[in-house]
């Protein structure tokens, strides 16, 4: 089965057919089928060691698959070395050439492809590319004189100057501080729209993947476990693994009652729904119920609001984490254990804030409850 990101796409930019790659006994990429259409921003998201970097390196040509076929624009590139592939990469720590200045780093790619290029044309192309990454006039700078963010832009310019079919980004923002990372996320998105080529990003940072890409592929142990838009991945996770990796989730175990209900271990019955394309676990089988912390309403005990929801419980606050725009509470509920609840500042305006040891009621709706088979 091919995991088509968009149906009806013309020739895919990148296609993997049953690709596997082993390192000794470790399976880095396990029988992956995927087709990435032209012009999108695709992220491969997963914990370290899930095979996402190997996946990227196989597109770049630094690794060859043990089995299966890798196609770029419909042509198999198995055995084709990296320097003959029409893809370019932004490396994790940029890998800029320390012995060359900015202009020579950026012009490096052109000089390999077109050895007879005139100095004037080369300078024009380098200048244009520097403008594109918003570093005009930096030609003569040395690499070690630049900040991390500037080096990042040089790396981008260097990878884009040959106008590749695909730009590969290996954890490109990992070395930047939080503020700069935010800015670069927006810039990368704009840049992708501007140049119109396929961007393939590899990251372990879910925020990065969700904020930048049109499509996210979540990986686990060498396999792609879910492909979809960031909204899909967040709202309709196909498994507890996805719900856990993307965003935060509360999980409660129980036995399926069938028909969208689960009897929790404490005896209470919760109603919910299965994610869009997944079937509800059959009656009497083990089930997991997932509720996102921001979908849980919290109110002081006795106060209405929380208890108006389909499901509600009463417990004590054991921990409060102030995050700025939100506050996270850990609420100890006798029937459920510790439950993570997120309260926005807007809702705090009506409920007020809560102190540790305070008795509270938490509640959520049927729509906010996802039911999975417990495997």
């Amino acid at each position: 089965m091919t995991d088509d990101i968009k149906n009806g796409a013309e020739t895919a930019d990148i296609e993997f057919r049953g690709v596997s790659r082993h390192f000794g006994d470790v399976i880095a990429v396990n029988n992956v089928d995927i087709s990435i259409p032209r012009g999108g921003f695709v992220s491969f998201l997963g914990p370290s060691g899930c095979g996402k970097t190997t996946f990227l390196r196989m597109i770049a040509g630094f690794e060859q698959p043990d089995s299966g076929d890798v196609l770029l624009r419909g042509e198999s590139v198995v055995g084709v070395p990296a320097f003959k592939r029409p893809v370019n990469m932004v490396f994790q720590h940029y890998a800029l050439f320390p012995h060359l200045n900015v202009a020579d780093n950026i012009g490096y790619g052109i000089k390999q492809v077109n050895r007879k290029i005139s100095k004037k044309e080369l300078a024009t192309r380098v200048g244009e590319t520097l403008e594109m990454v918003r570093l005009p006039g930096f030609q003569e700078r040395n690499i070690w004189e630049m900040s991390g963010g500037q080096q990042q832009r040089v790396a981008l310019a260097r990878a884009l100057i040959n106008r590749p079919n695909v730009l590969l980004l290996d954890e490109p923002l990992a070395a930047l501080d939080r503020k700069l990372r935010r800015d670069m996320q927006i810039e990368l998105q704009n840049l992708q729209r501007e140049v119109g080529i396929t961007f393939v990003l590899v990251t372990h940072d879910q925020e990065e993947a969700l904020s930048m890409s049109d499509t996210v592929c979540l990986m686990k142990e060498g396999r792609i476990v879910q492909t979809g838009s960031p909204q899909d991945l967040y709202k309709e996770p196909l498994s507890p693994y996805v719900a856990d990796f993307v965003g935060k989730s509360n999980f409660f175990k129980g036995i399926s009652e069938g028909a969208g209900a689960v009897k929790l271990t404490c005896g209470r019955i919760v109603e919910g729904r299965a994610p869009l394309t997944v079937e509800l676990p059959p009656k009497s089988s083990a089930a997991v119920v997932c509720v996102r912390p921001e979908m849980i309403h919290i109110a002081a005990e006795g106060n209405k609001g929380a208890s108006e929801h389909a499901m509600y419980f009463t417990g004590n606050i054991v921990n409060r984490i102030f995050l700025g725009e939100n506050t996270e509470y850990v609420v100890r509920i006798d029937e459920l254990g510790d439950v993570l609840v997120m309260s926005s500042r807007l809702s705090e305006a009506s409920t007020g804030t809560f102190e540790p040891n305070q008795s509270v009621t938490i509640g959520w709706d049927k729509d906010a409850t996802l039911i999975f088979a417990d495997t």
């Binding site: 770049a60 050439f97 320390p98 060359l100 390999q112």
Partner: protein, 293 residues
């Protein structure tokens, strides 16, 4: 802040710095600068009737240097040639050790490069006399039909000895600079469309220039003063400035003439090294973060 405490601390720091630098300064002043000045003064003097030095001021010693031009010629051809030969042989070896070799055997292979140092230089050079002498390689060559090949006491023999003795000194600095090389830079070069050969000339080689320059300098400087290898493998026919110095100072006891020799050797080295280092740091991209030595 109390200023007296500050100045006290400052004074103590200066004192510590002075104490730390004292041994090296003393060493350079007494054992390098002082003898050097003495040699320069001697080089303008005259030989005494029974040898030694008589104070005078004459340029005769320098004007007489051309009578020994052979020594200058041998040193200034064989020293650069030996350095170049060491470089050409050491680079692939260092490259193999640093980049290609399996990590498991790396240490063992590195030890093998040092092992010759465990034996005396004299013994090793002596061994070459037998290998290159009449009963050695020439005899073997005669056996397979190449009669009358003379090896010992030729410039070739001296060159072989030089390469054999100095190779490790070249291998190690190059090895270190290649070992430090970030392999992602090689991948980046390949990713941008450079073939492995172009990657080597555009990335690997420029980034290993510090090691290459250090190795070349060490070998070249030592070779300029070399006298044992030409003595033993050149048999007095291929003699270096070093041999001439021994000869003039100890045999003829003409100290002023020897001093002129020594001064000119220092000047030649000063000029060649300066030019060479300028050129090398230019090749390394003019980076001031990389010291060439």
């Amino acid at each position: 802040m109390d200023t007296s405490v500050k100045t006290k601390a400052e004074r103590r720091r200066k004192w510590t710095t002075a104490m730390l630098l004292a041994p090296a300064t003393l060493w350079y002043a007494v054992l390098l600068l002082l003898p050097l000045v003495t040699i320069v003064i001697f080089s303008f003097g005259e030989r005494g009737p029974a040898g030694g030095y008589i104070p005078a001021f004459t340029f005769d010693n320098y004007l007489n240097l051309p009578t020994r031009s052979k020594a200058f010629f041998n040193t200034m051809t064989l020293a650069p040639l030996g350095t170049l030969a060491c470089l050409l042989i050491a680079y692939p070896l260092a490259y193999y050790l640093a980049i290609v070799a399996n990590k498991k055997y790396k240490t063992l292979l590195l030890v093998l490069v040092i092992v010759p140092f465990w034996t005396s230089l004299l013994v090793r050079t002596y061994a070459w006399i037998f290998i290159l002498g009449g009963q050695g390689l020439p005899k073997l060559l005669a056996f397979i039909g190449f009669e009358g090949v003379r090896m010992i006491n030729t410039p070739g023999a001296v060159l072989i000895g030089i390469i054999y003795i100095y190779l490790p000194l070249m291998v190690f600095p190059i090895y270190v600079s290649l070992e430090k090389l970030d392999t992602r830079l090689l991948e980046a070069s390949s990713d941008l469309g450079a073939s492995p050969l172009r990657t080597f000339f555009q990335v690997t080689l420029p980034l290993s220039i510090p090691g290459l320059a250090t190795g070349s300098m060490m070998v070249f400087i030592l070779l300029m003063g070399e006298f044992i290898i030409p003595q033993m493998l050149g048999g007095g026919k291929v003699y270096f400035i070093g041999n001439a110095l021994v000869d003039v100072f100890l045999q003829s006891r003409n100290w002023p003439f020897g001093a002129a020799f020594a001064v000119s050797l220092v000047l030649i080295m000063l000029v060649t090294i300066t030019v060479y280092m300028r050129y090398m740091s230019k090749l390394a991209g003019g980076r001031d973060d990389v010291s060439v030595m």
